[in-house]
Symmetry: C2
Subunit: 409 residues, 2 copies
């Protein structure tokens, strides 16, 4: 007798991310650390900067020496010398005194601010006029103003963008502890699927999902490992799934769009050691016949075979699991949807979340989301799309002009 | 006598992109083509799919055979056989006849639609009841419905996302013509800058810009080539700039924040053969003292030294030039700003575009852009930021609550 499974609400599916531990860690050079996820907090071993420095070209002073100076009533200051880049000044500057300082120069003892050069006039080698007063700290970066010693400069779980790479450079962090990229095995199944270097006969199609899914894995910070195409029979599928699980942190099997394949997948999962089917069906469209299992601590996904369905299931549910495996803790960062207005009415069935492909358009000073309708077996609909919108579970549809959130694809 | 330069409006600066030709092209495997820019139009050499196929499990029919069928008045059909995946059916289906077909199966001659299995009941091996009528084309993807033979499936200048990789796979395109990634030489200058493996003395700082800029180059589709740190003197700078120009498609020299360095850069540019300074100063803040030159057909940028200024100038003006070099024609695609509301009033000087770092916050069901103020020498302000907003040229400021567009950083 056939077992019946209940669909699992989307929020519950996403809670299973906590069942899977992050991958191990490794150390990479700073140049290779871009887009990786930091595995350990980095603590400041010094102030940044270590010394007060000027952010303009000008004359360095104790601010009080300039108080009251105006265009019509300039202050006179004695020039004590010149600050050179990259060297601590070998003189102090007292009240009524100053020194020339270039952008980035270190402040001499006794000073706290810099008058911009355009607000001064050189009288001779030993004296200048100042036309504007400055406040203490003005035109200066103070010691420790960027980061203070022993502060956490970057917490584990952050993705290293160009600015985080610069931050690590500032502290001389050349070896960066990062989480390993999860290895994701990809299997396509279906008796009608042929490798892309073959010319399909009538009734056959080239393997698209291996390429869309491996691209998505790469863009999610994983390493795709291709396990090719498997015929829809128990032995072949069991052997290839076992091998992929052995060699990967997660496995994506796509092609279970016919009931036969889905039944086969469930049968194989029930025979694999230490396996547990967590989810069999998610109330989303497209993508309902999705299977999630835990096999010996590894993640197994059975994805629908239609190319658009497989991509949407990846974006909506698979990606959060990969990000979690990859140690990414700030999943919200950069995951904001783009608010846009809907160009037309959209009907939707209740009891499921509908994901609709949209194109973004700029018109009348606003951003609009224009639905691209079409069967989920048609890849051109994803090629035309800039993103997805979700129509919530208990909504009969959305009206033209309402605000939606667009998630880029 | 010192020459004075006029600042160049931002729009005019961006028009100079057309002065630089795209890099050459190469051929890469489909697996390596992700995120590359397609260099030649790809034309469909067949219909996709080549045959009509079912998108559900069910019974394949000529739609007319089901007309009038309802729950209370089912239609009776004779089962002619079964369609197997990956093979053309070896039988035809006439009026009043049907055959079992799995998802993805090829339609037999004489059929145009599929009744979902849930709307049928098997009576015996030779007959079924149908409870719902179908329209011609229902539950079917027609031959050529995704793409028609000789149609352009993907135009040159498009970035290859996972879905475009899938599309190329569908047509068996294993060798993909793409534009070369532009090589971008990166030089840091400043007598106070030391390599990141050195412990800076008082007055010195580690080289941050080489790392932020190389990260930005990589994320813009270029190949960063590090030319290290150069002292602020004519000979060293001239030699290193010449070498970098020789070996790259574009050069970024950062560190010209002091007037001395800027003057030196201009002097060197005027001595390099076939060089022409196109821009000396842009009315943006931060980033005003930016230099753009054309040297023997290559791009030379003199960027400000402050880390935040250099990053902002990169995002606002350098990136469009790299995308143009890289052959990217749909620069709008994916470059939509994220609409958000401003959390506070922001003052701004007229006569320049102000770029403000912001953090994105979700509250009260809306997305808010929260300004991060701070000197442009402080990298922590970029680490905290999710994006940038622009305050236009002739605006005195923006009011709390107005809508702004956030460009991710």
């Amino acid at each position: 007798m056939k077992e019946f499974f209940q669909v699992t609400p989307l929020e519950r599916v996403l809670e299973y991310t906590t069942e899977f531990a992050a991958t191990g860690t490794e150390t990479v050079s700073l140049a290779e650390a871009l887009d990786r996820i930091l595995a350990k907090d980095v603590i400041a071993d010094q102030n940044l900067p270590e010394f007060a420095r000027s952010v303009v070209d000008g004359y360095v002073v104790k601010a009080a020496s300039t108080f009251g100076a105006t265009e019509s009533n300039p202050g006179y200051l004695t020039v004590k010398g010149e600050v050179f880049m990259g060297r601590p000044p070998d003189f102090a500057v007292g009240p009524g005194e100053t020194a020339y300082i270039p952008t980035g120069g270190m402040l001499p003892t006794g000073t706290d601010s810099v008058v911009m050069i355009e607000h001064t006039e050189k009288l001779d080698d030993h004296a200048i006029e100042v036309f504007k007063s400055v406040a203490p700290g003005q035109n200066v970066i103070l010691a420790g103003e960027d980061f203070k010693e022993s502060e956490t400069i970057l917490a584990a779980g952050n993705r290293i963008r160009p600015q985080e790479a610069g931050l690590l450079a500032a502290f001389g962090v050349r070896s960066v502890p990062v989480f390993n990229k999860p290895r994701v095995g990809i299997i396509s199944t279906g008796d009608e699927i042929v490798p892309i270097d073959q010319t399909p006969s009538f009734g056959q199609l080239r393997d698209i999902n291996s390429y869309t899914l491996s691209g998505l894995v790469t863009k999610s910070g994983g390493i795709p490992v291709m396990f090719g195409i498997v015929k829809d029979d128990y032995e072949s599928l069991f052997t290839r799934c076992s091998q992929a699980l052995e060699e990967s942190d997660a496995v994506l099997l796509s092609g279970g769009s016919s009931m036969g394949t889905r039944d086969l997948t469930v049968e194989i999962l029930s025979r694999l050691p230490h396996s547990k089917i967590l989810v069999h069906g998610i109330p989303i469209s497209p993508g309902k016949p999705t299977i999630l299992a835990q096999v010996g601590g590894k993640i197994f996904w059975g994805l629908p075979g239609h190319v658009v369905s497989a991509m949407i299931v990846f974006v909506v549910v698979v990606r959060p699991f990969l990000e979690s495996l990859a140690g990414f803790s700030q999943s919200r960062k950069g995951a904001f949807g783009i608010p846009a207005k809907l160009t037309r009415n959209l009907a939707s069935a209740q009891g499921r979340v509908d994901y609709i492909r949209v194109r973004l358009l700029q018109k009348e000073g606003s951003l609009w989301a224009d639905p691209i309708l079409g069967k989920s077996g048609l890849i051109h609909t994803m090629v035309k799309a800039d993103g997805l919108i979700a129509i919530p579970m208990n909504t009969e549809g959305l009206d033209e002009g309402v605000q939606v959130e667009v998630f880029p694809v």
